[in-house]
């Protein structure tokens, strides 16, 4: 791609995103999203929390969608292991409403490590933007962590900036 921009030119500082350790509960993560994103003047998108281990290594990411899936009662989840009769999705959603207080509240005590998306893909700060675009497209990722010297997490590159950069290259051709 012309222009030769690298991931470093697009990345957002890692401290723009909330950080939590993997042992925090879903309930704690929900409050953090509320307080440090939704009610904050910053309100950076996409809504993502970075999840770390005891040694400050990134182990995963957590979106509001992962959180909602985490508190969804088990019986509402699709099963692939057994043949089941067709069911009405609207009907099931009504059942969730009636069970919300009890079951979802209990599920919110689970650690975020059970619902986060494990961090497996990384880019280096000097990698080309196209590499980030490729990894995102083929892994259905909305952002990628950026490392310095394959070790230190220094930032995050988001799909929106990658899209913008690729668009510029096409439109200015």
């Amino acid at each position: 791609m012309a222009g030769g921009k690298t991931v470093k030119d697009l990345m957002v500082d890692v401290f723009e995103f909330p950080h939590i350790p993997y042992w925090f509960s879903i309930r704690q993560a929900m409050r953090i999203i509320k307080k440090s994103v939704l009610e904050s003047a910053k309100c950076i998108r996409p809504i993502v929390i970075l999840v770390f281990d005891e040694k400050y290594n990134l182990v995963g990411t957590l979106t509001h969608i992962n959180i909602l899936k985490g508190i969804e009662p088990k019986f509402l989840k699709h099963t692939t292991k057994a043949q089941v009769p067709e069911y009405s999705q609207e009907g099931l959603s009504v059942i969730w409403d009636s069970l919300f207080d009890k079951e979802s509240a209990a599920l919110a005590e689970k650690p975020v490590s059970e619902v986060m998306v494990p961090a497996k893909l990384f880019v280096e700060q000097d990698d080309p933007v196209t590499k980030a675009a490729y990894l995102m497209l083929h892994n259905d990722a909305i952002l990628l962590p950026v490392l310095e010297n394959k070790k230190k997490l220094i930032g995050v590159v988001r799909m929106i900036e990658v899209f913008d950069e690729v668009s510029n290259a096409i439109l200015n051709e």
């Binding site: 401290f15 350790p21 409050r31 953090i32 307080k35 904050s40 281990d53 005891e54």
Partner: protein, 244 residues
């Protein structure tokens, strides 16, 4: 051997107290060994029984010695006396006490404020906090479990520095230029959960000494520390001075 100096204006029992304390701290009298009898100490130092009793009682009160009914007086594992209004790091405290200490860093990561942490640190809820969990040991025996929380924007260096051999206070003061001017201590009792008990070698539910500290630089809150201490290894020491 140091003897009592009768020309010294210091009281005899104080001189004897310091001599005996020196023997314990230097290892001359090893932990768990029996110290000489009252009569022997009287003869050795040429002092009265009353002088020996006061000196030995003071050493027992400060945790250097323990008396066993019908058996004698023995040297104890050191109990660390801690001043209430100290602005002293664990390392300094241990060096003063002359003991072999070490630190294990159990966790060092970044979190967002939960519960009332933002109030304790006087920050907004979207600020990042460095979280450090350390186990402090004396002679490889755990005595203190400490969790520290500090705003990342004040000093990010504790994320990278060697915390097993360096004091957090030293890093703050010498490398980040943040001078600690005062500390507020809140002292209470904690009942250990399963993990705390396992780390401190005590049963779950056991009572331990809880010290919560808020460190200030001027009016800014710099750090909040929650320490759980084995009750058999610490003593709080308060010195009160009457103002004329």
């Amino acid at each position: 051997m140091t003897l009592i100096d009768r020309d010294n204006p210091q009281k005899l029992y104080l001189q004897l107290y310091e001599i005996l304390r020196g023997k314990i701290e230097s290892g001359d009298w090893a932990v768990d060994t029996q110290i000489p009898t009252e009569e022997d100490l009287c003869k050795t130092y040429e002092v009265s029984k009353a002088t020996v009793r006061i000196a030995v009682s003071e050493l027992a009160r400060q945790g250097y010695l323990r008396r066993q009914q019908g058996k004698g007086t023995f040297v104890c594992k050191r109990i660390i006396p801690e001043g209430l209004s100290m602005v002293t790091s664990f390392k300094e405290l241990m060096l003063e006490a002359g003991v072999n200490f070490s630190t294990e860093v159990l966790a060092r990561t970044v979190i967002m404020p939960i519960d009332d942490l933002h109030i304790k640190l006087d920050i907004t809820e979207d600020k990042h906090i460095i979280y450090i969990k350390r186990l402090r040991l004396i002679d490889n025996e755990p005595i203190l479990l400490q969790e520290t929380y500090m705003p990342h924007h004040i000093c990010p260096l504790p994320l990278e520095e060697d915390l097993e051999n360096n004091s957090l206070l030293e890093i703050l003061e010498k490398k980040c230029g943040v001078k600690i001017t005062s500390v507020q201590d809140y002292i209470g009792i904690a009942y250990l959960n399963e993990e705390e008990g396992r780390l401190l070698g005590l049963p779950e539910g056991a009572a331990a000494l809880l010290v919560e500290q808020i460190f200030y630089s001027g009016k800014s809150k710099i750090k909040y520390t929650r320490s759980i201490k084995r009750p058999d290894r610490f003593k709080l020491f308060i010195e009160l001075e009457r103002k004329q």
